[in-house]
Subunit: 452 residues, 2 copies
Amino acid sequence: MSQAGTKPPSGTRDFLPDEIRRREHVVRIVREVYESHGFEPLETPAFENIETLLGKYGEEGNKLIFKILRRGEHEAGGEADLALRYDLTVPLARVVAQYQNDLPRFFKRYQIQPVWRADRPARGRFREFYQCDIDAIGSTSPVVEAELLAAVSQVLARLGFDDFVIRLNHRGALTAMLQCAGIPESQHADALVSLDKLAKIGPEGVEADMRGRGIDAAATLTCLGFLNGIRRDDPHDAGPIERFGDFVRSHHAGPAAVSELDQILRLSDGTPAHGRIRIDPSLARGLSYYTGAIMEIAVPDLPGSLGGGGRYDNLVGMFLGRDVAACGFSLGLERIIVVMSERGMFPARVSRAAVDVMVTFLSDELRADALKLAAELRAEKLRVEVYPEVSRRFDKPLKYASSRNVPVLAIIGEDEHARGEVAVRDLQTRQQEAAPRDTAASWIAARVRIDR
Amino acid sequence: MSQAGTKPPSGTRDFLPDEIRRREHVVRIVREVYESHGFEPLETPAFENIETLLGKYGEEGNKLIFKILRRGEHEAGGEADLALRYDLTVPLARVVAQYQNDLPRFFKRYQIQPVWRADRPARGRFREFYQCDIDAIGSTSPVVEAELLAAVSQVLARLGFDDFVIRLNHRGALTAMLQCAGIPESQHADALVSLDKLAKIGPEGVEADMRGRGIDAAATLTCLGFLNGIRRDDPHDAGPIERFGDFVRSHHAGPAAVSELDQILRLSDGTPAHGRIRIDPSLARGLSYYTGAIMEIAVPDLPGSLGGGGRYDNLVGMFLGRDVAACGFSLGLERIIVVMSERGMFPARVSRAAVDVMVTFLSDELRADALKLAAELRAEKLRVEVYPEVSRRFDKPLKYASSRNVPVLAIIGEDEHARGEVAVRDLQTRQQEAAPRDTAASWIAARVRIDR
């Protein structure tokens, strides 16, 4: 097979050790924090029966689903009966229906698994990528939103983000705003697509875009005027909530929606989300299935978001045939890793060498003792590799240990062995010392620990 | 969709929290031990280009591979271009070829990922299951085998297995044994299938089976006589190695193969595999691709094995067009979890409640304080859930907390709040005490920690 034939499939990646360690660092913290907030782990199969997924993601989604051929005699028919997981929400909905009698009334789960989408691969867009979701099922209380934001904020803080901002809006308040600005419901979807670009193309851009979509110019200006009046920078300014409430006062559901935002804000006061939340009436987030609060987290100097979510009270019940209250948040795991790498936010231990000590032996008779020393060093909680081949001199193992950034080389040679010693070489200082063989493991361990 | 439509696909499982915690407990120890032995993590995509997998697992294997339909305009053609990972060895071979210039000369990797096989589902046989492999690439030294056995033994010891036995044999010694017994090479494959059943069907069964396969009766008896003479029970008895060596003395490669077994045994003396290894000339392990030592780990009272492996020096190089030395071991993760569950080997903390403290509030005005107390308790490293809905009395949250086995309920009620207190109820003893609100978190934390 040619060299080209050994690449991973288009849009997928092999994860070599360093990349896995970075992801594991993030995942470990995510799990710890989510567990501390009462979320429990869930995992579902990589594939679902095809009818479970088809029709759940729209026409475009259907095309992007990886479909698995039927097997055996049916294979030649070219039909598919299974499909790869496309997101973590539809499997959650299936699980909620299947285990409804076993799950707690307020089911809070986190799920960190890959999903697959047959998107055209591009820079930063993969066909296999991890999603990292939390969802709280079973309650419409704004305590749920506050707890989600607390958990996500705690994750980001623990990862070392000190400049993230949570943009918060409400689907009902958004509808009320458009209505009160004079945009009829039939144009809401269009208007939201336009508004979603506000940060990117500015008010003039949105004005032109709205005009292009046939939205009334006066209504557009009213809308933009309101958004311009909301100050988004001062977290201590109660202004945005009041202005938002004033603006949607005449809409039947507007005040209740804005009051929910106000409650989420107040409930977050004593949590890690405190001071992070900005009311942003221009936040739209797709909108297709959200029914209440919507939120998105960003860092100021980077386009795009680190994650987003919201309340969606009629999706998780899709397999139950009734509405089930639900609120969720999806962290952009891959993006978080990219940003942390660019900013140098990973602690040194994540990228330090995979091995603390390499043991080498200078004759075949000394192999068993090398393995014994390795076992002793491992009992001292060190990560140890044995150079597997015999070397008459230690220059080859030394070069190899250096190339792998191993800090310490323990050399078991004939002369040292006869003297009851082990030669221990520090590869940074290039100093070599003799340690007594019988206490060599603790001697080396003390040394390596000082260096950490 | 009907209730039946919410089951996971045939042969796959949803993993609910308790099952994930059990797997995570095992995986955490596996990773720690493998890392301490210098193995590094590798992950490959869930699917490979179909030509990477086809033809690698024989005719039967080809049929069991899940194949993914081409997408877009090609979908109707019914052709597949991708296929789900079938094992972790072929992807490793691809990785070794693709990154040959970046990987260390002695590449030691562990890989813990699901694989998919379209087997007929049965009790204990799944279509999606985890494999857990270590492989050491690049050296033919028996130090490699000894290190693998040390690592695997350490994993099992750390998991709490104190009765496992490593059966060790050698593909070359096996060939020599059959040859010396008078079985011609053309009948070796048949003879090995037969011998592999020795433990199950006994010598008489093997005799009949060999006869059925047309193997010379005298040769069969010679073979069985030899195997019967090997004492498999006393680890301190050097007999088996000597007898094995004697028996294959006249074969050109026999003595070297037995000497390798002897070396592995001696090299293991100072490692966690010490005292665990039994030379077993009847161990066959499929044989298709092994070229040297083969090993299998079992616990005495259970049929089947907890894992197995061996040396296979001409498989990993399949994409490179040259032989690459390799030796690997695959732990049966799913089976280990089953055995540990049956034997009650999981520590109590793995199955303890997901939440240490539940916080409940008895009026809407107290919600924010409940969230604040939850944040304070989390800062004390407790896992905390907030009962999301208001309850005028605490009987409902109490019942809910009990049903989830939460040990402590913290109740924020009007009266307590007015007195600057929190009511703390121990759900085991049913005792309730008042804690001062300002130090409630550390007060509760001290209490919960004592109970652990």
